[in-house]
Symmetry: C2
Subunit: 327 residues, 2 copies
């Protein structure tokens, strides 16, 4: 069993020659939580940690090379790698006459449900955009990073890439025909995340969703989402807590995550405002007012999982106001 | 054909002896728009005009008497009158040992779809609460006024009573088990309303709604509602305009309102941010940034209806920051 609070990025930094060299840029790309309770498919937020480290280097050869500085064994073929697909998308859109060498050190475990592939895609897109002199807007970068994400998830969605690029809480109003991301106002707020090391296939998580929902249930869901957006804007923690209720997705998807109800219940008892499944799981997240409450909640989550024999990690993080940052 | 912009309340005030007499109170209760596009069943707002005028007078006899100062021929039997039912509800809840004489002059036409019955119920509840020394909270008054509204609509809902009591834009997060109304932040904003004088039975408007909706459509709806709440809070008129899209209710209910598409299209051309069906119709409302735009939109609406031979009224009003006011 593993139990670790990531207190920041690893001290072993990926190779980076000089900050002033505009042929090379190093970025930090945060983990993100998507499908925030009643905001299924539209509401997400960025964590302060863990973050992936990405160095992008301009090379004259018009190709994309990927070097991994971690042990996750992800593909190096750019056509099969989220970062590679995203890199090619941005080079192509820019009509660039150069290629890229990309070094990635992932601190966000693939398959954890906290936006690992989005961090790879967004990190590369923001880095390449920086090399290009910042020609793309945040909205455009979301669109480009989505192309990488599509490789990982099989469908176009911006749930994780939007908060990864924008930071903070984001609401994806639309991705088609145009990407329309709304950066929300929000108060100081913290997240506790538990990542049980089980695999949930995105296809299964998707297939168990109902095709139709009762109108009454949908109304309740949008009432809660509207209230949650208002609660975040007015820094009303009580309203945030009351609004974090999902009557559509959580009831069916929680069956894929052992001890979900127990984790949620223990978290609320330990002071969480509320929470739910992160992305399509298996991670579970909870929000709190303070860092110390977040630590208590993470401990309560861990206490439930120690009884299961399933390996897990917990994370404690402030919601980051910034997304991918140039280091 | 009738075409009139109500520029305020009528100059013929209902009988009112003295403001300082705490046995009597006069209130003004505003018209309201419910089911604001993507916020079906949860989002509403209060208009500055038209307003109903309600005088409530304490009488020693433990009964409720209703006197109408208008020509709408509404029931005077308190058990069959929205204001009477609401009055009885509040007296009963307070355990009051007195009765009431209620004079009502309605300037909001019954059946118009801009909260006529809610104004009667809320006006009385706020007035009686004032006589009682203000013992009920706004949330409690919404609950009490809902009892009156139930008589009018056949179901418990707070879509109109919430903005009528609170003013401004309100989001009804929940009415069961407890009433939870969120008063939203919003910018200076105006409404144009056209009331075609046709009858839409609430039962018919309700029966044509689908029992179930595709999850994809529901997601789009809550994305738009979340964005609309955010757009109102940050005073972002462009975002407000983009978010006012209803893929669930308007497509089916608009068939009940002649020339709906033409009115909407002409309004958008005349500068409206967006809009839709007010309540369950037949009124149509549009929002604008300025009063002059609202006037242009009302004229564009009227121009469409002059071709129909259907009588109509138009209204131009600022969104009122206050709900029922003690006069």
């Amino acid at each position: 069993m593993t139990f670790a609070c990531f207190a920041g990025i690893s001290s072993s930094r990926v190779n980076y020659s000089t900050k002033s060299d505009m042929n090379e840029v190093r970025v930090l790309a945060p983990a993100t939580v998507a499908n925030v309770v009643c905001g299924f498919d539209v509401l997400g937020f960025a964590l302060s940690e863990p973050v992936d480290e990405v160095v992008v280097r301009r090379i004259s050869e018009q190709t994309v090379r990927i070097i991994h500085r971690d042990d996750f064994g992800l593909p190096t073929d750019p056509a099969k790698n989220v970062a590679g697909v995203a890199a090619r998308a941005v080079l192509e859109r820019a009509g660039a006459d150069f290629g890229l060498e990309i070094e990635i050190k992932k601190n966000i475990k693939p398959g954890s449900g906290i936006g690992s592939s989005a961090a790879s895609a967004c990190g590369v897109v923001v880095a390449v955009n920086h090399l290009l002199g910042g020609r793309f807007s945040k909205g455009e970068m979301v669109g480009l990073a989505m192309e990488g994400e599509q490789l990982a998830s099989g469908s176009r969605h911006a749930d994780n890439v939007a908060p990864c690029i924008y930071g903070g809480f984001t609401l994806v109003r639309s991705i088609d025909p145009a990407v329309d991301v709304v950066g929300l106002e929000f108060p100081e707020i913290y997240a506790s995340v538990i990542h049980p090391q089980i695999e949930i296939r995105t296809s299964e998580a998707r297939s168990i969703l109902p095709a139709d929902v009762p109108l009454k249930t949908a109304i309740k869901q949008w009432a809660n989402l509207g209230a949650l957006v208002a609660g975040l804007a007015r820094r009303d923690y009580e309203l945030i807590a009351r609004s974090m209720d999902d009557g559509i997705v959580e009831p069916v998807r929680k069956s894929l995550i052992p001890k979900f109800d127990e984790v949620k219940s223990a978290s609320l008892t330990a002071g969480a405002l509320g929470g739910g499944i992160s992305g399509s799981g298996p991670s579970i997240f909870m929000l709190t007012r303070t860092r110390s409450e977040a630590k208590s909640v993470a401990e309560a989550m861990a206490a439930v999982y120690t009884t299961t024999g399933i390996n897990f990690h917990t994370y404690v993080s402030q919601i980051a106001s910034k997304g991918v940052t140039i280091d």
